[in-house]
């Protein structure tokens, strides 16, 4: 299991990197971030990029910063760096919690937050978080820079709105004043989740004022559970209201069955995970006030 041959460059600027992607488009040029998804795929010879553009030497891409109240993570911020970052814990505790579920520390030491979003594995945690948080992805291509909202970004399994000559330079996470929870069900510790739920719940005077919920493992992309969010809106987050939100959120889901679970089992698990996530987020929302 060795990767196929390719050519390689580690440019010093984003424009240079974009230029390389354009120049080697015919060879299926690809961006290399941590390599924790791409290199295994190449080892299996499931991916044959002819050219890799490694972002590791572009200065500044490993920065974690605040742009006003928006948390901005550069393309080369390793998952473990984000996990340890005090800024992330304060500005996006949902992300911090989810990171603890992404693979294992040795993989998080290499893998990047943005790389996981770009990879768009339907079972992955971080795309789900991005969707729940209404994140924006900054893409730079030959035509310049654009921002892509998470709701438009994930288009299918391993398929995103990013063009093949574009680079994601950062992910932008707006604030959410309320409680958060990332809950997942995985077969073993560190394994990809069968189902994962990212929940944000704001509570004022005992009632839910805003909820943002997304789930992995129940569709070809992370799914925003708007029906559950609506069911919670204005409600006292007690078990009846949460139960109703779970019913609403999982009604009509049609996950594909696979090795990890039939469609029916995935829905069973999604119900339990969704309930736990909403409960915990609501509890934390109460605590926050």
């Amino acid at each position: 299991m060795k990767p196929p041959s390719f050519r390689y460059s580690s440019p010093a600027t984003v424009p240079d990197a974009v230029a390389l992607l354009v120049e080697h488009a015919e060879e299926d040029a690809r961006v290399l971030a941590g390599g924790q998804s791409l290199v295994p795929l190449m080892n299996f010879r499931l991916a044959h990029p002819g050219f890799l553009v490694d972002l590791r030497r572009v200065p500044g891409l490993d920065s974690i910063r605040m742009d006003g109240d928006v948390l901005v993570l550069g393309a080369m911020v390793r998952q473990s760096a984000a996990e340890r970052s005090a800024e992330v814990r304060v500005a996006a505790p949902l992300l911090a919690e989810a990171l603890g579920h992404v693979a294992h520390p040795p993989i998080r030491n290499s893998g990047t937050v943005v790389g996981s979003i770009a990879h768009a594995d339907p079972a992955a945690e971080l795309p789900t978080v991005a969707l729940a948080m209404d994140a924006e992805m900054t893409a730079v291509g030959p035509q310049g820079e654009r921002r892509i909202p998470a709701a438009e970004f994930f288009q299918g399994p391993f398929t995103t709105a990013l063009a093949s000559d574009e680079i994601l330079t950062e992910v932008r996470l707006p604030p959410f004043a309320g409680g958060h929870a990332f809950v997942e069900f995985a077969r073993t510790h560190g394994n990809f989740a069968v189902v994962g739920v990212a929940a944000l719940v704001a509570v004022t005077d005992g009632r839910v004022t805003r909820a943002a919920i997304a789930a992995s493992g129940v569709g070809p992309t992370p799914v925003r559970m708007t029906a559950a969010e609506e069911a919670l809106g204005g409600a006292v987050p007690d078990s009846a209201a949460i139960g109703a939100a779970v019913d609403a959120g999982t009604a009509g889901l049609q996950p594909a069955g696979d090795l990890q679970g039939s469609a029916a089992t995935r829905i069973d698990i999604a119900r339990a995970v969704l309930r736990d996530a909403i409960e915990r987020a609501a509890e934390r929302a109460q605590d926050r006030r």
């Binding site: 069900f185 078990s239 139960g243 090795l259 679970g261």
Partner: protein, 820 residues
Amino acid sequence: MTAVERPAAPPVRTHKADRRWVGKSIRKVEDPKFLRGRGGYIADLVRPGMLHAAVLRSPMPHARIVSIDTGAAEAAPGVHLVVTGARAAELTGPLPDFGPDPTKHTWRCLAAEKVRYVGEGVAVVVADNRYLAEDALELIDVEYEALPPVTDPEAALQPGAAMVHEALGSNLAYARQFDFGDVERDFAEADVVVRDRLRWHRSGGQPLETVGAIADFDPATERLTVHTNSLSFTSYMFMAAGALGVPMNKLDVHQVPAGGSFGSKLFVTKPFVIAGMCSRLLGRPVVYLEDRVDNISNCDHHGSDRVYDVELAVMRDGTMRSITIDTVDDYGAYIQFGVGHHGNALAQVTGPYTINSVRYRVRAALTNKNQQGAYRGFGSEVNNWMLEQMVDKAARELGMDPVEIRRRNFIPPASFPYFIPSGNVYDSGNYAAVLDKTLELADYDHWRAEQARAREEGRYIGIGVISAQERSVFSATEFWFWFDEPNAPVTSSPESVTLGVDATGTITATLYSCAFWGNSPETMVAQLVAEEFDVDPHSVSIIYHGTAGGLPATGPGGSRTTVMLAGAVEGASAKIKAKARKAAAHLLEVDPDDLEWTEGGFQVRGVPGQRKGLDEIAAMLHMFKHSFPEEVESGLEESKVFDHPYTTMPSADRSDLGVFYPFMGNACHVPVVEVDIETGRVSFLAYAAVHDCGTLVNPRSLAGHILGGTTQGIGTALYEEFVYDEEGQLITSSFLDYTIPTAAEMPEMTIGHIETPSPYTPHGIKGGGEGGRMMAPAAINAAVNDALAPLGVRVTELPMTPDRLRAAIRAAGQVSSAAR
């Protein structure tokens, strides 16, 4: 029961009570090199200039190979050789196969005319390095003509099923029914017949190191030197030589330590033959190291894959009278070890219980899956699970306590040696003592109370209690008695050790097979030698002999290593001591009979001052031969070839299979689990296990094997399965899909030991390397069933994945609830 005339048992031994080294948990002598990353595994022996092989694998479960175009691959950079399966079939003979009629299901290192499972090799490329070899694999063009895949073992036996091997005329590789005792009568007299259908899916050893071989053919001498992490490298050498067409005296196989085996590296002839074939063609050393996908899809370690229909005849008081077992075993496309896996089951078919009679029907089905090999337990773990499932079901139907029904049926300590209906003997045991100790360690009553409390809160806690057997030291009759007219006599599966005391008095032990795989043959031998000669075990040097010029040996398997090595060490030590005694007597000018062995030397009985240490004796024998009478030879080195110590032949009609697995351990496992009925997740609250493997040589190392085996058993029970879908695709071909438990899934385990010595082995040792995995699947299944009993759910299929558990719970009417 009709009285069977039985050959005499070996003499009963008395074991010395004051042991100095046997029984001590010393640090293992093997470990320092591994701790420093200097293990010397097969991949570590690769040197610059060696060529690397990679194998093209079939993506088709069942297809005729219409054509293979290797032109582009041959022209690719760095490529030295491409060999297709058809060409390999001209260059090599079939791989060794102990099944019936091997010519009707010919097994080769690469598929020749058709492929029979996903992952079967169709061609091999040899190149300067593995990267280039894999590049070339992508350039090989194979045209297949798809054939209908056969994936279900029972459907495979239906008329009209597509045939995996046309020459066989069906997919039934073996079928036989044995009756041991009067089954009809016992069933007629029974109060209740408990029936069930059970399904055990295939999982495998999955050692972290794959299989590899480095073959170096020297065209000048026509000698083939092979290094490989095969464990039984001595005993299969003649078969590999046959497959390669190399004269046996031109083949030298060398041991290397294996990074885990668990049965998966017993023979492993494919990499050996592929590397050997390529090296012979090229006249250069060729390395073939499987990668993980090679290993998962084309290895020798897919384990048992059985469907059972079982009936257990019981009396109302819980006494078990008889059992009929009807099993179909999915052997995959080939059949390497015959149905020896069922010999393993028959060795302990009635468990620790006094069951009168047994009917055992086995059918071996061939399907489009990787062939079965060996996995820790070798089929006896499946029998344990089946039997304990039935005992629990009987307890439920009779309204009995699971502990009580077991106690009632235990073979009492006074009845040993005890012959079970199949003819095998249990040498010794104390099953109630093991059970009692386990219940105590498990804090059983506390957990029963917890369980009651949890049920009131709507939580599902379950406690499993199983008591089962752990056979050790197989005799090759278990591969042999299947045939009325076996085509060769039966081997005694010997093991050999040479002990040498050099001129300075330090001791070297030479082993001839039994390569290291994570068991501790070196530590065992060092402790046994230390016990014999009163030396520090860490001062004993251990080396492995290659096959050329080696003594007879068999290798590990069936938990035989320690007992067999102990026999060989004992024999060689006795010879050394006999010679040393004579020499000391001569030097001290006393009668040899007046000497006694004490503290590392011979001393005149009762006269501590008058003695010769082993070092002094050895120095004299090595260097000063003229100080001794004419007949004394220089040196102090002796060997012992130790044959299987207790085998008896089966009866001609096979109504009695004779003694073939005589040293019988026993264990009790009590896991406490909680089942989350919403998600089907099983988690452990506690886990206690007590094993009785006779006298322990290194208790901590045995406990380590119990822990490791139990972890694999947890995998078998909850996580691990080689899944082939209905189209015959293997959908668990990597570690991403084949789920191996991590440290986080492990229960906090409490391990205990009982030591009931064997009357027939040195020190009373029994084998114990496989025990954990022989118990855990049964125990965890029992615990899950106990947890789900209030829902009326009983799980009869392993592994108990969340999907399977949820399906069972849904079927029982438990729809998932959102609100708490």
